[in-house]
């Protein structure tokens, strides 16, 4: 009986873990040497392409750290495959750095999901062209009311046009969440966005793509000595996760928190606007103020002091802090 339970529990755990990993991609860093002339280099490492946008003159060489999308489970992936480096340019693999296990892997998958910020408030809008088409189709279909087949045809054509009209990528702001466990001195940083997530420099980590999009790819823009990379997946919510080495006081100094919630053990949430946790002023929050967002308070630990904050961080991102 107990053996059957064990097998059942193991199967369930594998199913849950497998489901969680399917949508998750590891981002490894590799150092490559590129030789010009080239304007664009494409690399593949098992789970998606990385396109490097770099301008190199003939014979010019450049050594770069490039992020690669590796398979979801840790394991040897080998060297990346160079798919193209311009007409005569070429690339050479130098060394690789593998990211560690998925962030806070010791937590249950359900608990790890709590770090994903909600992007629901940034739902896409229909756009003027689609709305105009919608109204025009309705007027024509009503005009053809004595010919139902004609109405149906007009509706079908308009529906196809609505589906295939080009649309701009979402301009929604990215959201950043910092989780900090003071007892274990561990931090997790999550950056979420629609259609794309951008980082200022290549970093190891994990990308969760919801729904799991086969079209996930990375773009690296190299301008002089600066490089910036972006993960793209049209129609998906993307979350980049990495273990942060930044300590909480250091992070608090960089953040400007507009609103802070604190919950002492066994008490209700207290809220105060404009309070700086890194400063010397005492917290004078009041009960009964605006409640923190549901996704932010879900599964926060009980019996300890919990601090939540909303502010703006680097690159004009809305930043949420969750520390206990």
């Amino acid at each position: 009986m107990s053996r059957s339970r064990g097998i059942l529990a193991a199967s369930l755990a594998l199913a849950i873990l497998g489901g969680g990993l399917r949508a998750q991609h590891r981002v490894d860093l590799v150092r490559v040497e590129l030789t010009g002339p080239t304007e664009e280099v494409r690399l593949h490492a098992g789970a998606g392409e990385t396109v490097v946008d770099i301008s190199l003159a003939e014979g010019e060489q450049r050594s770069l750290m490039i992020p690669l999308l590796a398979r979801g489970t840790p394991g040897p992936d080998g060297e990346p495959e160079f798919l193209g480096a311009g007409a005569e340019g070429h690339g050479r693999f130098l060394e690789g750095t593998r990211s560690s296990a998925p962030p806070w892997n010791s937590l249950a998958p359900g608990l790890r999901r709590r770090s994903l910020p909600t992007l629901g408030a940034d739902r896409p809008r229909p756009g003027r062209a689609r709305l105009a088409l919608l109204v025009a189709a309705a007027l024509v279909a009503l005009g053809l009311r004595r010919r139902p087949a004609g109405s149906l045809l007009v509706g079908a054509v308009a529906a196809v046009l609505i589906a295939v009209l080009p649309s701009r990528p979402s301009t929604a702001r990215e959201v950043r969440v910092i989780e900090h466990d003071r007892a274990r001195e561990r931090s997790l940083e999550v950056i979420g966005g629609r259609d794309r997530v951008s980082l200022s420099a290549p970093e190891c980590g994990w990308i969760r793509c919801l729904p799991s999009a086969p079209g996930l790819w990375l773009e690296v823009e190299v301008r002089g000595q600066e490089s910036r990379w972006t993960a793209h997946a049209t129609g998906a919510r993307l979350f980049f996760q990495r273990e942060s080495e930044v300590s909480l006081p250091e992070e608090l100094r960089k953040l400007h928190l507009e609103r802070v919630w604190i919950r002492e053990p066994g008490e209700a949430w207290c809220v105060q606007d404009g309070w700086n946790p890194a400063g010397s002023a005492p917290f004078e929050g009041r009960e009964g103020g605006p409640a923190p967002p549901g996704w932010l308070v879900s599964a926060v630990p009980q019996g300890v002091r919990v601090l939540l904050g909303r502010g703006s961080g680097p690159e004009n991102r809305t930043t949420w802090l969750r520390a206990w």
């Binding site: 629901g120 408030a121 896409p124 229909p126 689609r130 004595r146 139902p148 149906l152 509706g155 979402s170």
Partner: protein, 221 residues
């Protein structure tokens, strides 16, 4: 009154109702700000489809479809106008759902279910206008608004009693309205599972009964 210069009043009224359904289905796609946030992450396709599901099968008596002895039927299916009006907002709502990150399989499941129900209820209403208006009216009332209203009333009034909850759950699966509404607040199903739901079977039976009754009436005329 000439049939070419103006439609018979019931047909005109029916088209007016379809225009109302169009307005109601476009409304959730236009809201923004706090109102939109209050809708949460639920499927907009479901919200856009509810008015059509509720109105496309309304029982209508159309003189053009139940003519006097010796006259020709017009043969036009008014629900073709309804589908022509419904398709663009429904596709737009589905497109918004996909862009918002909803699973493709879930959106396809909802779309398949909605398409099947619209065709079944629309055709049932068309067949009813050929003479089986009373039977269709009774069955439509029971299946579409009746079962949904009864399920909601039972859930609200006898909360917590297992037997009543079971009955409410069964009734809710029969009505396409409550089936869709449960999808909005719960987990949507795949396309294959969506078209095999009790609400589809109930709508198909409604069409079959209405068609058979209309045929018998036509034979006795």
């Amino acid at each position: 009154m000439s049939g070419v210069s103006s439609s018979p009043p019931p047909f005109r009224t029916r088209v007016g109702v379809y225009a109302l359904a169009w307005g109601l289905s476009v409304l959730p796609l236009l809201v923004s700000g706090e109102l939109e946030r209050s809708l949460g992450g639920g499927s907009r396709l479901i919200l856009a489809a509810l008015p059509w599901i509720g109105l496309i099968g309304l029982p209508w008596s159309d003189p053009a479809e139940s003519p006097a002895r010796g006259q020709e039927r017009s043969g036009r299916r008014a629900w073709g106008v309804a589908l022509g009006l419904a398709l663009p907002p429904l596709v737009l709502a589905g497109w918004l759902d996909l862009r918002a990150g909803l699973e493709r399989e879930a959106v396809l499941g909802i779309a398949g279910f909605v398409a099947m129900i619209l065709v079944l209820l629309g055709e049932a209403s068309h067949q009813a206008s050929r003479g089986a208006i009373r039977l269709h009216g009774f069955c439509w009332l029971a299946i579409v608004p009746g079962a949904a209203a009864l399920a909601a009333s039972l859930s609200w009034a006898i909360d917590g009693q297992a037997a009543a909850d079971g009955l409410a759950a069964i009734l809710a699966t029969v009505s396409p309205l409550s089936t869709l509404w449960r999808d909005f607040s719960g987990e949507p199903v795949s396309l294959a599972a969506a078209v095999l739901r009790p609400a589809c079977l109930a709508s198909a039976l409604l069409l079959a009964f209405t068609w058979l009754a209309g045929r018998r009436r036509g034979e006795t005329r």
